[in-house]
């Protein structure tokens, strides 16, 4: 009997948390479709606000997607090999490298952005292009990719697998692409999910790094919420959801496929 009681208590907590996270989302979707937020639903529904948001801010959606995917590419290229090295040689030095990589997560985004501007702001082409924002995003998301892949690599018996492969005559490259990468696939996918979501939602650094020509979605969102009508801010969140949900589902689907494969 107590078991059922505690079951319901846990269910209640879970349900409450779910409601806490989801209800405001529903509210803002409704607000973005209402003619007048202050009057509420009785003023009618409209797609006008979404249209206005799209005409004003479609650029930010494209830019955020661009930066997120470029960030993913960069963290894959930089992070997966780095994680492999950290897994192969677990020493004091590699632990130091791990700690260092975590630093951009610890230091506030404003500081990293300021530091980048102070040192590299002089290169005008670089400063005014989206690459400047990309650099900040990669710094911030790289540790997440590295950690995710490293977690998987340390949990499998990498040494035995590689020894087996090399005893059969596999070269370093063959081992890396044929043994290591497929085995850390779930880590790569988990890392990819983190990197993409973190990049799309990054505000702290981007707010300082952006120029009026390189606005990402969170920056545009802050703008619209501050200076536009609340219906526009809410419609912007609807656009954001349309962008993010398919993306997350896609990555999760890859992850599930990956997990099935391993079984």
């Amino acid at each position: 009997m107590t078991r059922t009681g505690s079951f319901y208590a846990q269910l209640a907590v879970t349900a409450l948390i779910g409601a806490f996270l989801i209800v405001p989302v529903i509210l803002s979707v409704v607000a973005g479709l209402t003619v007048n937020f202050f009057q509420g639903l009785k003023s009618g529904l409209t797609l006008r606000w979404i249209g206005e948001v799209w005409s004003l801010y479609s650029g930010t959606v494209y830019l955020s997607l661009l930066v997120a995917f470029a960030c993913l590419g960069a963290t894959l290229l930089l992070g997966v090999p780095a994680a492999y090295v950290l897994a192969k040689r677990q020493s004091r030095w590699t632990r130091l490298v791990e700690e260092l990589l975590m630093l951009p997560v610890a230091v506030p985004g404003l500081a990293t952005a300021l530091a980048l501007i102070l040192l590299y702001g002089g290169f005008r082409e670089f400063r005014t292009s989206w690459h400047f924002i990309l650099v900040g995003h990669v710094l911030f998301t790289l540790p997440f990719m590295v950690r995710a892949v490293l977690a998987v690599l340390t949990s499998i018996d990498l040494a035995t697998l590689e020894e087996g492969a090399s005893s059969l005559g596999a070269s370093f490259a063959q081992r890396f692409f044929g043994i290591v990468l497929p085995n850390c696939r779930s880590g790569i996918l988990a890392g990819a999910l983190m990197v993409v979501t973190l990049s799309i939602g990054e505000f702290n650094m981007t707010w300082m790094l952006h120029t009026p020509l390189t606005k990402t979605l969170p920056v545009g969102f802050a703008d619209s919420y501050a200076s536009m009508r609340i219906e526009i801010g809410s419609a912007y969140t609807i656009v954001f959801f349309f962008m993010i949900v398919p993306l997350l589902l896609l990555v999760q689907r890859f992850a599930r496929l990956g997990a099935l494969d391993r079984q």
Partner: protein, 273 residues
């Protein structure tokens, strides 16, 4: 053989190391120099302790982050274990809905809090209908706390679920067969089993809360958390030196907590994000 392998490993590490050195280490060194070159000189670094406003801000931020971390671990812990063990129709949808706020920028989270607890908010409306007075807490510490909880819970819950799935059911069975009650099992079997997951996700939660800027920026609370103080210094006569020194001190404190957590979770365990 080993030497050749070491060389290859070095090559594999090189791009990440180079990018990191060029785009983080060097700029940070420059920032540290700027921080020490303002009107106060090197003493700027101590200002966080000596200046009452900065110190109050630091304490508020640490308390808030610690409080949020504790509450999140508790709530997400309960929900995570529950979701890991119970399968019901709609479970995967619920999981997806619970994790999708991960992508929300802090600004959107602030906006969500206002939707819930602002003057025109959902909670205010309900309380108004029930009692005639409006409950508005979006702009107080409670609102900020709620906002931080909003972006922290999704981060922690994923890790907890993953950790809970790895728990050895046999241990719990054994404990139960030895006569341990519910709470005893939770305290002595489940929590220790989840410890690495809880510590690592708790540390990330703490770090994110310490550095969170977007939420406080949108909520425009009067309570100054350190990132907002840094922002104020930046926009106040462009006091870069102070903004830089405060940022670096904040970064150091956060990094310290992360490092402590990592050693507490066991060395070599690079916990999943």
């Amino acid at each position: 053989m080993r030497r050749r392998e070491n060389l290859l490993l070095l090559l594999l590490m090189a791009p990440a190391a180079a990018a990191f050195a060029a785009f983080w280490l060097l700029p940070m060194a420059r920032l540290a120099a700027v921080a020490g070159s303002g009107p106060l000189g090197i003493a700027a670094y101590a200002a966080i302790l000596t200046n009452p406003r900065y110190f109050a801000s630091l304490v508020a931020t640490i308390l808030l982050s610690a409080g949020v971390t504790g509450a999140t671990l508790l709530l997400a812990g309960v929900a995570g274990v529950f979701l890991a063990r119970n399968y019901f129709p709609g479970r995967s949808l619920l999981l997806a809905l619970l994790t999708f706020p991960l992508a929300f920028p802090g600004v959107v989270v602030g906006f969500m809090v206002i939707m819930l607890a602002g003057r025109q908010g959902f909670i205010g409306d309900i309380v108004f209908r029930l009692s005639g007075s409006r409950l508005v807490f979006a702009y107080s510490m409670t609102g900020l706390f709620m906002g931080y909880l909003y972006f922290s819970i999704p981060r922690v819950i994923l890790t907890v679920i993953a950790g809970a799935e790895k728990l050895d059911a046999a241990l719990e069975e054994a404990a139960r067969s030895l006569g341990a009650g519910r709470w005893r099992i939770v305290r002595d079997v489940i929590i220790p089993g989840l410890r690495p997951a809880l510590i690592s996700s708790g540390a990330i939660c703490f770090a994110t809360s310490m550095g969170a800027f977007g939420t406080a920026f949108t909520l425009a609370t009067n309570i100054d958390v350190l990132p907002m103080t840094i922002y104020t210094e930046f926009t106040l006569n462009a006091n870069f030196a102070m903004a830089a020194s405060l940022s670096l001190v904040l970064g150091f404190i956060t990094w310290l907590v992360l490092a402590l957590a990592r050693s507490a979770a066991g060395s070599g365990v690079a916990a999943a994000a």
